[in-house]
């Protein structure tokens, strides 16, 4: 029983560390990517995975029924609200033309928006 608890603690600590590392990678990506849209890739998603890893690590250390439920709730809302925020940022970035100095390789959305403006 004690060995089991120690193993869980160890794996939990490892997951916490990995989660922090993943979030750090997101920050580095944010500093290195050139424009808003590319940065939103680095700012939102590695961080979601990092958050899940941190929560899993915390869960392994807490090991208590209702705490696990609360952690699951946090993960659920993180999963649900993150995309809304990143979508709004990306949408306004696109509509104000902040698509990077090198331009887009291909753009399926622009013709549709132009169509609507003409109507």
């Amino acid at each position: 029983m004690n060995a089991l608890a120690e193993t869980a603690d160890l794996i939990g600590a490892l997951l916490l560390f990995l989660g922090c590392l993943q979030s750090l990678l997101g920050v580095i990506g944010m500093l290195r990517f050139p424009d808003v849209l590319a940065r939103s890739h680095a700012a939102t998603k590695p961080q979601t995975l990092g958050m899940l890893l941190v929560l899993a690590g915390v869960a392994l250390r807490l090991r208590h029924g209702i705490d696990l439920g609360t952690l699951a709730l946090i993960a659920f809302f993180q999963f649900l609200t993150g995309p809304v925020a990143s979508h709004l940022v990306a949408r306004s970035a696109y509509r104000t033309g902040q698509t990077g100095s090198r331009g887009l390789l291909r753009d399926d959305l622009d013709p549709q928006l132009s169509d609507e403006e003409q109507r």
Partner: protein, 195 residues
């Protein structure tokens, strides 16, 4: 409670206009208990009371979402999403450290299901996975517009579209009605028209 004359604010649950949404109240109560962190009768009763007050104070329009919960499908969806998050965050990491010419593209992906729930949950699932972020959604044509990083790679755009369609099918099998599943199982609308 069942057959009082219905005017605004009455607690009519049943065939007519539904004021109190029982699944919603149950869900709000679960959140309340989890936030307090202890399961006790006092918490439970208070949770139900708060949920009822919230539902009465901020009534939502009755919408038929067409939501079905299919446990097996949900498990498969979660497993696939976790795997996708893991594998594609590796590739985003690679992109971060290779200072290459990053050229992005905006790609339209028409979905096969038309229901709002399928559109929303596919968009949420797609934008939680690294590699494509949703910048615009067209409800009328059920089209997602994705921003794809690293579109220089010739296969990247096609791969992004395929992965959205795969996610759509998984989402339909997790939350969709039988009709949604049938729609999502059809072959993809038009495979890559440009070279």
């Amino acid at each position: 409670m069942s057959d009082r004359p219905s005017h605004r604010g009455t607690l009519r649950i049943g065939s007519g206009r539904r004021v109190l949404d029982l699944p919603l109240i149950a869900w709000l109560t679960v959140i309340w208990v989890l936030l307090w962190g202890t399961l006790s009768w006092a918490n439970l009763v208070n949770g139900v009371l708060v949920a009822v007050v919230v539902c009465l104070a901020f009534p939502l329009p009755a919408v038929d979402l067409g939501l079905r919960l299919r446990p097996l499908g949900i498990l498969r969806l979660v497993a696939c999403l976790l795997y996708d998050m893991y594998s594609s965050s590796l590739s985003v990491t690679r992109q971060i450290f290779t200072r290459g010419p990053l050229r992005a593209a905006v790609v339209a992906v028409p979905l096969r299901c038309r229901s709002d729930l399928m559109l929303t949950s596919t968009a949420v699932a797609v934008s939680n996975v690294p590699g494509g972020s949703v910048i615009e959604v067209r409800r009328a044509t059920a089209t997602l517009f994705l921003h794809v990083l690293d579109a220089d790679d010739p296969g990247a755009i096609a791969a992004a579209r395929r992965s959205v369609w795969r996610t759509e099918e998984l989402v339909a099998r997790a939350f969709g009605t039988a009709e949604d599943i049938a729609l999502a199982a059809r072959p993809a609308p038009e495979e890559e028209q440009s070279p």
